[in-house]
Amino acid sequence: MLKILMVASEAAPFAKTGGLADVLGSLPSELTRQGVDVRVIMPKYGTISSKLREKITHKCHIYVKVGWRNQYCGIEETEYNGVIYYFIDNEFYFNRSDLYGYDDDGERYAFFTKAVLDAIPYLEFCPDILHCHDWQAGMIPVLLEAQYRNIDLYGNIKTIFTIHNLRYQGIYSIEQMKEWFSISDEYITADKLEFYQNASFMKGALTYSNLISTVSNTYAKEIKNPFYGEKMDGLLNARSKELWGIINGIDYEEFNPEIDSLIYQTYKKSNMKGKNENKVAIQQELGLTIDENIPMIGLISRLVDQKGLDLIECVLDEILAEDVQFVVLGTGDVKYERMFHDAMQRFPGRVSANLRFDNTLAHKIYAAADLFLMPSLFEPCGLGQLISLRYGTIPIVRETGGLKDTVISYDESTGEGNGFSFTHYNAHDMLYTIRRAVGYIRKKSLRNKIRKAAMSCDYSWYSSAVKYKEMYDTLKPSSD
């Protein structure tokens, strides 16, 4: 059986700041179901809830060298959803109130890197592949090559690096990196770790890992282009042949309109009457005009430029000149929060601005809205459009990253498509697409057809895991 050790700085439900944690919370159990022996290793943060913490058991401890210091490293484990999660314990580095944002983040993850590699002999589990996620685990492929290769146990371990967020690259001064990792100058060259007079964890990963993946096919192509490449485009181009794009899934148990206990009324693809009841109920709850027939546009997003909020700002009045309702959930830039707050005053009964995080309301909006707006400038994978498809809420997206891979714009001539999309990052193109979508869904038969197409898509973790397995298999020695 293929043995994979995933290395990441966060995993749900233990610690979460973003999409990375969701992947590490769901993908391993799905892979396990498909017959892969997957385990996860992550830092033991102070923020792990006491309920989960109680179930974590101490295996052993070792000492790990960071520069000239010898640091305590506890190795602990627990089981979650049939998957073993290992934890690296060090109170000084990880028993803090937040996951990131400390002056010594570089040193913290340098410790984590060495700890993971040093812990392997104590896990009673020798992985075939170390699957590392984001910059915090980026130096593992480098150190494995530089310092562990000649030890028997490590001799055949392969590495994969998955980019969830290309923007954070773990960039530190050359002196610090040399000290933390005890590496010599030969690694700090432009073709290895050196990055604009500094050194970068992520660049190390992109140089040294056997395979690289990111979270959608289109994004894998886009990051080879300097506009999206965050200055790694040259390197990614050079590694084009080893670069995979695998779309994330969503948890099909948590997001299931047939059994979702957070929504007003469950419904299914074959009978979507319940979806309209959700609309009426949310209109009641949010103080919108009650009208089963008025198209409702949902927006659940961080309210920032990257998500296309500046496009929305530019044509908000034109959108609302249509006979539509607009329901917003999220926080972000004050100017956008204010904009929706004002719109709520200016268009009473038609705009609902919910400027907060609220998981229950999110489910209700996914269930109630007719259209889901996601006009991002870039979007590595995107989650909102996957959930909205699952709930038969027709997405309107810009063709970028994961949005392009998952939403197929409705084509009148063939009758195919599960949503609507536009190519250029442009407010008027978006407006035109919204008008087109609103026009189509006013015709009930068309609306139902596109809804059904949306709900027939499969973006469960099952399909993602199949792809990951395929990627893992390419690293198997051919003699197997």
Binding site: F227, L311, H424, Y425, N426, A427
Partner: protein, 469 residues
């Protein structure tokens, strides 16, 4: 009685076409030429001999300059082009490199240049009355000259106040007292720009607007105290452009020459350029920008502004230059912002002129602009500028709303993507009205020659010269 010509040594880190990184090089090419044309001056120039200088100047002499504990040899060369002599300071250690600037030791490189220029004057027969220095690279020259050539008067021109260079105080031993040392930045490195401002006889900058702006604390890049001390000896004199080189009726680079009387022929140039870039030839305006890929030139706010506008109503062509990464980054924007947005990264002057000739609207949304040349070329070629009214842009472009009769362009209300989009929309709307012709003609009739600038400098040089005689 015919009196002697005033002798001027014009000192610059770049002189086009020998070596050019920006506006400074252009000015160093055309301003001395304009001075000579008045018949009142004998002008020679001096610059470092960089690797990229293509012409082969001839040997004049050599001498050594004390550097640290030892000496560096400086070879002096000269080149005469169209009656003007340019001296070159050659030294392998400092100048035999790929680029003009942006090295860690720029302070040492240009301090050597300043020392070498002083030394040069001891070895050549040309003895200037006035040494005209430019930007930080030459900032220590007035101070060094004061000690060894106390009769020479100095002018220091600020082309861009945001770039500075530094040298350890030990290098100025014997030149300045403790108080002056502190004034120039001690115990940190001594600031070339501050030295230029303090020790020159007169400070000029490249537009009245910029002269005003840099005296406020927020735009002075730390020079405000120094500038305040010299406030009676600072003036802004607008740069000019070479009206012979930049003339749409004789420009050999453009396929269909034209002038104000037949400026509709511009459209033929536009059609030709559109064809080259696969842009449909429709009755919508072609907006252009000739720029370096730099945040402060407004390229990023332009892209955002484009995303707020209806793509079918205009076309944008950006001719940009920058590092390889930026060139690749911006060449791919069509896919993201619209097929009507084209970026060309292979800059050459001939293409730039074709673009000025083809453009309906010229975009210059700079965060700051000491003088700016692009807007003047654009006006001369009948392209209507949209500018952020700062520095020289405010001095050279008249907004339609401020003065309907004499307007030559459009102002942004502030430096933001929204304000730019608003100005672009207004310009596009105006393009389809009769008012447009008037704007174009007003612009083409502007005179941004060196004449005015030379007159101003005449007064200044005369005053300084009289103080010597």
């Amino acid at each position: 009685m015919k009196r002697d010509k005033i002798k001027i040594l014009y000192v610059s880190a770049e002189i086009s076409p020998y070596a050019n990184a920006g506006g400074l090089g252009e000015v160093a090419r055309s301003f001395p030429k304009a001075l000579i044309e008045t018949g009142n001056y004998e002008v020679r120039r001096v610059m470092p001999l960089y690797q990229l200088v293509k012409s082969k100047p001839t040997y004049v002499t050599d001498f050594s300059i004390p550097v640290d504990e030892g000496f560096e040899t400086c070879v002096l060369k000269e080149d005469t082009d169209k009656g003007m002599t340019t001296y070159f300071i050659a030294n392998d250690k400092f100048y035999s490199r790929e680029n003009i600037y942006a090295y860690d030791d720029d302070g040492y490189r240009f301090f050597f240049f300043c020392k070498a220029v002083v030394e040069m004057l001891k070895h050549i027969s040309f003895q200037p009355d006035i040494v005209h220095t430019n930007d930080w690279h030459t900032g220590f020259l007035p101070l060094l000259l004061r000690k060894e050539f106390p009769n020479i008067k100095t002018v220091y021109t600020i082309h861009n106040i945001s770039y500075h260079g530094f040298i350890p105080a030990s290098y100025l031993k014997g030149y300045i007292n403790k108080k002056e040392k502190i004034m120039l930045g001690y115990p940190q490195g001594l600031n070339f720009m501050k030295a230029g401002i303090h020790f020159s006889d007169f400070v000029t900058t490249v537009s009245p607007g910029y002269a005003y702006e840099i005296q406020s604390q927020e735009n002075s890049y730390g020079m405000d105290t120094s500038l305040k001390r010299r406030k009676n000896n600072i003036i802004g004199i607008l740069n000019g452009i070479d009206n012979i080189i930049y003339n749409p009726s004789t420009d050999e680079h453009i396929p269909y020459p034209y002038d104000a009387d037949c400026y509709e022929r511009k459209k033929l140039n536009r059609t030709a350029l559109r064809e080259k870039y696969g842009l449909p030839d429709k009755e919508i305006p072609l907006l252009v920008m000739v720029t370096r890929f730099n945040y402060a030139k407004g390229i990023d706010i332009l892209l955002k502004a484009i995303s707020y506008m209806e793509l079918s109503t205009f076309q944008v062509l950006i001719l940009g230059s920058g590092n390889t990464h930026d060139q690749r980054k911006y060449s791919s924007v069509s896919a993201i912002y619209g097929d009507n947005v084209v970026v060309e990264v292979n800059y050459n002057e001939s293409l730039a002129r074709k673009i000025y000739a083809a453009a309906d609207i010229y975009l210059m949304p700079s965060l700051f602009e000491p003088c700016g040349l692009g807007q003047m070329y654009a006006l001369r070629y009948g392209a209507i500028p949209i500018v952020n009214p700062v520095g020289g842009l405010k001095d050279t472009v008249i907004d339609l709303e401020q003065d309907v009769l004499n307007a030559t362009g459009f102002y942004m209300e502030e430096w933001s993507e929204k304000a730019l989009a608003k100005a672009m929309k207004k310009a596009i709307a105006t393009y389809h009205t009769k008012e447009w012709d008037k704007l174009v003609l007003n612009g083409m009739r502007q005179k941004f020659t060196w004449e005015h600038s030379v007159q101003e400098y005449n007064k200044l040089y005369e005053t300084l010269y009289r103080a010597i005689v």
